[in-house]
Subunit: 342 residues, 2 copies
């Protein structure tokens, strides 16, 4: 009784029952293929009765198309990524693809081995969310004709397509907003130093401050992590000599910073300190935080990612490039109101 290999229904079974050839069955289940109305009927009937469904794996082996997209993601505790994963899955499902998920910590070695595993599954494309990747590996994917898209991260390698928000511009607008709100002593809490998002947001912020005649006086590193951001905030704000405005490189860390400011240090936001974040994840709009943030256009990012993927799957020759989408400053009560808005 135990361990009877439950024999799956194959196309040959259906063919026999329908009184046609295996080829005919295959054609009925292949969208573009030609089959007479009569054949289609017979086959559909037999398939229905037998509970037949084509084996995707077998099909994949022949066509070379698995209709699987590999998705590598590092940490799901920043709420931006679960949402991205959700939208991406839904969008890809709609197109007849499915997502094979791989968790990777952000160390290159780990990403590398995970990528190898992905390739073993003959995926049709790869999306790297929140992780970087070595150029060597990128080249290997390229040789194999497998498109790779970096999501919310960029890299100099031109063979890598990427989809990002204009992080530089976001940082710039935050700077102007803070200064316009009367910020005089300004701080910045950085994300992981190696990340392009971190680098570009900070560069934009500094440029914005410069344009506004202000400058950065405090800097801490939160590494994109809740706990580390807490510690960074504690250090930056503990003394008497502290910022009256701080830009935190993403919302996830900004929540930690606000908690420290209010609950731990008894400071008022934005009375004592204005706080701005980046991403505009849903929590940012929750009353407990009501955080001013630069919104990443998540839906547009996801759509573009899927477009890029589909385009390159259809045509190897498409040249990968960086896709920069526009974000939007969302002003909320964690920063002081500015004149141009009054």
């Amino acid at each position: 009784m135990a361990g009877d290999p439950p024999s799956r229904v194959t196309s040959l079974d259906v063919a026999r029952r329908a009184g046609v050839s295996q080829s005919a069955v295959s054609r009925v289940f292949t969208p573009g293929a030609s089959a007479s109305k009569r054949t289609v009927e017979k086959v559909r009937k037999a398939a229905e009765e037998l509970g037949y469904r084509p084996n995707v794996l077998a099909r994949a082996m022949i066509t070379g198309k698995s209709r699987i997209i590999g998705l590598v993601v590092a940490y799901l505790d920043n709420h931006f990524y679960p949402l991205a994963v959700e939208r991406l899955s839904v969008e890809l499902q709609r197109q007849g693809y499915h997502v094979l998920v791989f968790m990777a910590s952000n160390t290159i070695g780990d990403v590398q081995s995970v990528m190898q595993e992905i390739l073993d599954y003959q995926v049709d494309g790869i999306v790297l969310a929140s992780v970087s990747m070595s150029s060597v590996l990128a080249g290997r994917c390229d040789d194999l004709g497998i498109p790779v898209v970096l999501f919310n991260r960029t890299q100099p390698d031109p063979r890598l397509a990427s989809v990002v928000t204009d992080n530089h511009e976001g940082g710039r607008q935050i700077a102007h907003h803070l200064v316009a709100g009367g910020a005089a002593r300004i701080g910045y809490i950085a994300g992981f130093e190696g990340a392009s998002t971190q680098i570009e947001r900070e560069a934009g912020f500094l440029e914005g401050l410069d344009e506004a005649g202000a400058r950065l006086e405090f800097r801490g590193v939160g590494n994109f992590q809740h706990e580390t951001a807490r510690a960074a905030a504690l250090e930056m704000f503990a003394g008497r000599d502290r910022p009256d405005a701080v830009f935190v490189c993403n919302d996830h860390m900004a929540f930690a910073v606000m908690d420290v400011l209010r609950a731990k240090l008894g400071l008022d936001v934005p009375g004592d300190v204005a706080v701005a974040g980046f991403d505009d994840v849903p929590i940012a709009s929750w009353a407990a935080y009501d955080l001013t943030s630069f919104r990443q256009p998540l839906d547009a990012m996801v759509s573009r990612t899927v477009e890029v993927l589909m385009e390159r799957i259809a045509d190897d020759a498409v040249t990968p490039r960086r896709h920069t989408l526009q974000g939007e400053l969302v002003r909320r009560s964690s920063t002081r109101p500015t004149e141009d808005r009054a």
Copy 2:
């Protein structure tokens, strides 16, 4: 130039270069198989030089084991699920499996069609997180010998294994805790009425109230959704006749309720109203909420889920059952302290 099908390296290529048979190559890449040291060396060398890796799909077709686990999940906005997905992926990767993600809204029809797609991929097992499933479909999976595990949900069908926290006991403890804290007028905000978690938590809560000599006076429905929970809270607390304690069926909704109470209605938590949630997601411990909650033992739930899956993959005859794990009440400042704790 464009569209050269990039020919992948096959086991035959490696065999030729190593001067051995295809079988030999296969054996070298099959963990248990026997091969002489010399063969192993030659093959590994040739494989390395050619950049060969076995095609998982081809292997899957023969062995009948895809090493893919299908994961169906509904909404990723409740932070409990992203974490579950993350842990599950990591744990499964460790065991040499990978997760194919399918998003499904909670309508049965949708789950059904998604399940069909999953089966097309010849998955070795299925985890349903936060969604239910028809018995018919469950039977179909069973016939195919594909184990299904419900995660954080149960159903009467005995062919379905499930892993849950003791939701009834959780509700019970919350009731005792609220009453011990002096609650006199008690409210409950329900999740989706069809969900086993909702049903069991509420039943436990009612039983606990009864034991403590109290009773439920207010009831709203939040459907496990942020917005709906807001509305329910607004309705429940708007009048003068309102609860002084409320149990919200999960943390995700409890945050919405707290926001409404404090920001919208100007009430103090727990001064005017004590609030308790369920799950103990990370945000619950953030200072802005500091929410009393019944903790689900996420790691244990994930480990158990993987165990159950592996057990049944190894042996079809294992009888599916319900696995109920113990949770733990985490008391925080959103509820009033109780004597037994002073």
